[in-house]
Subunit: 320 residues, 2 copies
């Protein structure tokens, strides 16, 4: 998950001076906030500071972040013919070079202390932003597009997936030691729609990446999709709080898992949060291949000391 | 699901003259719009026209609907001490008499053509409105409250559940021939939290209702909760589009099911919608106890002729 965020006083101070996109475009500042999050939290991996939407820019899809940091696409893709506006391919090193520079500078600053994770949004999640024009609750425009013109949908997903692949490969080339694919909104779909409209594209990304670095496949909102997500690829499957980790992992079989801790549990009293972390650890049962993590990102209301206490507790409990 | 809505030209015409709450408080108009929906759609059951939040009024929780029909709670329950503001019990026939009058007049107008379904919001969904103050994406206030003071949470859920029970009993007394409990937002929880914070309260409602009329237990957003929802009660479990109906029903065992059709599929081209309806029917395989339904409510963008075509198709396909 993104580690740096508004829950950190140091991050809020930086964001008083620069906008979110200005920050994303400043490799030195990105390295600084990524490092600060590792220091603040004491976590076992860093994640490059970036946004899942950055890859849209070289694809020719303009966007901005509104004052409350919500994304807004300038000209949403609504008709099949709009897909022509999306570039068929990108040169990630040229157009997203500032992210690769962030990867390099963050890695240099980490000096081998912990590994660095690169990431991208997954094709369905990016498609839903591109089609809805921003966040959504029902994804009605996205599904309408998908159902109305399957050919145009697959073409859009193909262009997104190609760009995502180039982007992730470039991050690995720049030094990312693991990558994560974020399918944050895919849980709006049922298994049949996922298998038909999404899975082949996600599978093409993981197939292209191969085994160069560990790949984390994250999707939230629908535990019924995990078996299909595992089929699509990834060495680690991200689980959200909607499932029971033990039975879900057993059903998935031979794959590593991360997540499952409800991010909102960090707003609970300390002892309740610890109890919930222990429940996740118990469900994992020390089985190799469990990465303790939240089921989704840290929310801004979280107290930094509380987040740190969670990491410290997990370290202590896991070393027993 | 609610059948009458903005997708009907007749409903939009009425809503130009009266607000949503004025409509809910006018039993004649409620009967008229409920009947019109049955006529427009050709469905096998009517549902009383009301809103899941109406029960909050006698509980002492004021609310309004904003211009885009989103609910806004005047004074959200945020502290344990706020629970004292929620009435410990209600006299549903006295305080919600206008709903019972809608039940009676709708039933009279139906004249036995199709049965009439009454309904209420479920305690978690109502609690989340009451605590968040409106809709939410992360339910962070609700979960924070739930985790912070379990005693206060259970007291709030107990008061809501008592009122819901009285309200549903009154609707049955007034002539409702089935009832539905809507847990629209419960899918934000995982199985452990559901079992601990929600299930006992829902179970108390279904236990109190007994077998007087068929009871439908509807919850959306997390297929991993269905087994626990079945345990809590209801003769019919409502499934949303996030699961595969066949395997989900087999896992649930001996209970009827409804739903599973993605409401957004009604925005698809006719042949895609029909194909998706056929997939639901195939998954149900003619097993007794399957009620064809949407996984959630009809969205306003739906074309009435398209909705009618779906109902007609299901009738035709099921009579073969």
């Amino acid at each position: 998950m993104r580690q740096a965020g508004r829950y950190q006083p140091s991050y809020r101070a930086i964001r008083e001076k620069v906008s979110f996109l200005e920050l994303c475009h400043d490799p030195d500042l990105c390295a600084q906030v990524a490092l600060r999050a590792v220091d603040d939290l004491g976590v076992d991996a860093a994640i490059v500071f970036a946004d899942i939407l950055l890859v849209l820019e070289p694809l020719g899809i303009g966007f901005e972040f509104t004052k409350d940091d919500g994304p807004r696409i300038e000209r949403p893709v609504r008709l099949a013919s709009d897909v022509d506006r999306v570039s068929p391919s990108i040169d990630a090193n040229a157009s997203l070079g500032y992210v690769m520079e962030s990867v390099r500078r963050t890695k240099k600053a980490l000096a081998g202390r912990v590994p660095l994770i690169g990431f991208s949004g997954a094709p369905f999640t990016l498609a839903s932003y591109v089609i809805e024009g921003g966040g959504s609750r029902e994804y009605s425009q996205t599904k309408r597009f998908m159902y109305a013109d399957e050919g145009a949908w697959h073409e859009l997903m193909k262009r997104l997936s190609g760009a995502i692949t180039s982007y992730l490969v470039a991050q690995i080339d720049a030094g990312a030691e693991a990558i994560q694919l974020f399918d944050s909104w895919v849980g709006a779909l049922g298994p049949d729609d996922y298998a038909r409209y999404v899975q082949p594209h996600v599978a093409s990304i993981f197939a292209a990446l191969g085994d160069r670095v560990p790949a984390i496949h994250f999707g939230t909102g629908n535990p019924a999709l995990y078996p299909l997500m595992k089929q699509a690829g990834g060495h680690v499957i991200g689980l959200d709080q909607r499932c029971e980790l033990g039975s879900t992992w057993r059903a998935l079989g031979d794959v590593a898992v991360q997540g499952n801790m409800d991010p909102i549990a960090l707003l609970a009293p300390r002892e309740v949060m610890i109890e919930k972390a222990n429940a996740v650890l118990r469900a994992a049962g020390g089985r190799p291949g469990h990465v303790f993590n939240l089921g989704h990102g840290v929310v801004p209301q979280v107290d930094l000391a509380q987040a740190r206490a969670l990491v410290d507790h997990v370290h202590e409990a896991s070393s027993r």
